[in-house]
């Protein structure tokens, strides 16, 4: 794939990109959630 034959290496490429996409999707879904802004002691 892309001139790299060892699947162990291009898997690392794909997983890196997939993790970035996961971060972007998570941020987009939760953009306006979680406003729990915050003790006597």
């Amino acid at each position: 794939m892309f001139g790299i034959e060892d699947p162990c290496v291009w898997m690392a490429y794909l997983l890196s990109v997939a993790s970035t996409i996961l971060c972007i999707i998570y941020g987009a879904i939760n953009w306006n959630r979680g406003d729990d802004t915050v003790f006597q002691w």
Partner: protein
């Protein structure tokens, strides 16, 4: 296409302008610093973009770009597994799973530092002091790695002596670090992170352009697998687009364990327990800010580490196939003994013929490179091709790999230095203007990380150790505590500079970084995760875990891990010359401490907690609420 070899007026103006903007932002932060909460955790009101860029810019330093980029030049693209872990563990797991509980507990317990968070969670002054001491003693080793990364680039790009470059960089950093608290640091981090992002994006595009495209560059790199240096081939190196050979029990599997245990796991897991990063979670006011920081953080890390490791590996294809050096041969060293591997009492040397080239026509030597191996070493590398040009100059094709091209002078000797691979590549392959951009990129990467490292060192000794052991006398102002913080910072900087002065060569940047990250993981991670998610964990369990993790890590570095144990020198004295207590057992001497110390530390935390009295409900209510 060649970067200027001396600091011209344009470079000086740009660097001064950059430092002025950084100074202004630092001053702005200083102006808005009124309380200890402002100084330690930026008032708990950081903007999500500022928090994400500050987290990323602190996480990624010259260690990642120069140090680990150089390791990718040595060992290949297998290092991209670290990019995956950096994004998935270092951003997604850290911010989504650990970030919000850390923030909530930090707010509930009014914690200002990482040791204070642990100390208050377990209601233990010992834990706070112990964690503060670990940070104060070992953080300067990591800071030295970052300083070496910046110094190597200045040395390679601007032909300045290593020691002079080290002093200049250290002086700039010291003034900057001592000025303000975390508010100023985070403002400047956001600017520096943006500069780093643009610099690395340009480097990626420039590299693929110089190699004729993405697929062509990768294919060329795959095809030059036979050029792997003989010493690395014996350790399992199978080319720069393949993972090293996997197995256990023979030295030919050493490289797989170096890449996976030291580079990938040592740093990839260790990032979860970095004190200077965990404290960033306590700077935002709600979970929403953390949610918004995740996409910026993920994309930033992909562009930083993904680019550095890809470019590091691809630099082999550039040096072997594409590099052309035009100039005059100023002199030739007919026989030089080049240091390939340096241990405490032994050096592996290559017998080589060296060329010293004047590219600019000013009579000064700009480039030193290996023309050919001599005698038995001739077959280890192809000879450089030299063609005479009509105007009396010569065109040289070095036909080198990144390792054999990274020739540097150290004192009177010549040495192949993996930490010089990225600086040499940028100096040779990129246009002049990019050299200046990359200088600012590395300066930003170094300063954003070092500022947080010494901020953490200072608060560790000032707030977590000194203020716990010597409580402020009645009537004493908080100025006394701030003075101790600053003295701690200065002490840390001096230690780091001394380490950077003596430690050069043998991919020391990546090794020092991995040691610190691994130590933090073993000492802190079980207590941090247990403290956030397991109400049954006890003070005794946390203390036992921290002592076990730090003791096993230290023992492994001093007695077992060959590259460090051999350099420290205790084991060779005890065993009559061996570099590790397990030298007779293949693979063990290259395994990183984190693989042994972290599981032991976690196991001890669980067993001791279950064997001791559960924490009081009133204390748990304080930590977790209802």
């Amino acid at each position: 296409m060649i970067l200027a070899q001396t600091l011209g007026p344009l470079e000086i103006i740009l660097v001064v302008a950059y430092l002025a903007v950084v100074g202004y932002l630092g001053w702005l932060g200083y102006r808005h610093t009124h309380t200890a909460t402002d100084y330690m955790i930026a008032g708990r009101k950081a903007h999500p973009f500022v928090m994400a860029m500050s987290y990323g810019a602190t996480f990624i330093s010259t260690s990642a770009v120069v140090g680990f980029g150089g390791v990718a030049g040595l060992f290949g693209m297998g290092l991209l597994w670290l990019t995956f872990l950096n994004i998935f563990a270092g951003i997604f797991i850290a911010m989504v799973v650990l970030g919000n509980p850390t923030r909530r507990m930090g707010h509930r317990l009014d914690a200002h530092t990482f040791p204070e968070l642990l100390g208050r969670r377990f209601n233990s002054r010992f834990i706070q002091v112990f964690a503060g001491l670990i940070i104060f003693v070992f953080m300067p080793v990591y800071a030295a790695a970052v300083i070496i990364g910046g110094t190597e680039f200045i040395t390679a790009a601007f032909r300045i002596d290593y020691n002079v470059a080290l002093l200049v960089l250290s002086a700039i950093v010291a003034v900057y670090v001592l000025a303000g608290g975390l508010k100023g640091v985070m403002y400047t981090d956001a600017l520096q992170g943006t500069i780093m992002f643009l610099g690395m994006a340009t480097l990626l595009i420039g590299t693929y352009v110089s190699l004729g495209g993405v697929v062509r560059g990768h294919t060329e790199l795959t095809e030059m697998g036979s050029q792997v240096f003989a010493g690395f081939r014996g350790m399992g190196h199978r080319g720069w687009t393949s993972m090293p050979e996997f197995g256990w029990g023979e030295t030919k599997y050493n490289l797989w364990w170096i890449v996976v245990s030291t580079m990938v796991l040592g740093v990839g897991i260790g990032v979860l327990a970095q004190p200077q990063l965990v404290v960033r979670f306590m700077t935002v006011k709600s979970k929403r800010e953390l949610n918004r920081a995740v996409p910026t953080g993920g994309f930033f890390i992909l562009m930083m580490t993904g680019v550095a490791f890809t470019v590091g590996a691809l630099s082999n294809a550039y040096f072997y196939q594409h590099e052309r050096i035009v100039g005059r041969i100023a002199s030739v060293t007919e026989q030089a003994e080049v240091i390939v591997k340096k241990e405490r009492d032994a050096e592996t040397r290559l017998s080589c013929r060296l060329l010293h080239v004047d590219r600019n026509g000013d009579g000064e030597v700009d480039i030193n490179l290996i023309a050919a191996g001599l005698g038995n070493h001739a077959k280890l590398m192809p000879a450089a091709e030299v063609t005479e040009l009509p105007d009396g100059r010569v065109e040289i094709r070095p036909r080198a790999t990144s390792f054999t091209r990274a020739l540097v002078r150290k004192g009177d000797a010549w040495m192949l230095n993996p930490d010089s691979i990225i600086p040499t590549f940028v100096t040779s392959a990129m246009p002049r203007w990019f050299g200046i951009v990359f200088l600012l990129t590395l300066l930003a990467a170094a300063m954003s990380t070092i500022s947080s490292q010494f901020h953490t060192v200072g608060t560790a000794i000032g707030r977590d150790v000194y203020a716990q052991i010597v409580p402020l006398r009645e009537g004493a102002s908080s100025q006394q505590g701030t003075h101790v913080v600053r003295v701690g910072m200065i002490f840390g900087i001096i230690i780091a500079v001394i380490f950077a002065y003596y430690a050069r060569g043998g991919y020391i940047i990546a090794r020092a970084t991995a040691i610190f990250f691994g130590l933090c993981a073993a000492a802190f991670l079980p207590s941090l995760v247990g403290g956030l998610f397991w109400k049954r964990i006890t003070k005794a369990g946390a203390i036992a875990s921290m002592i076990t993790g730090s003791a096993v890590s230290t023992f492994w570095v001093v007695f077992v891990k060959a590259s460090e144990a051999g350099a420290i020198g205790l084991v060779p004295k005890l065993t009559g010359g061996k570099s590790s207590l397990l030298a007779d057992y293949p693979n063990w001497p290259v395994v990183e401490p984190i693989l042994i110390a972290l599981p032991l530390s976690a196991l001890v935390a669980i067993v001791v907690s279950l064997a001791t009295r559960p924490p009081a409900k009133s204390h748990l209510y304080k930590c977790f609420g209802s």
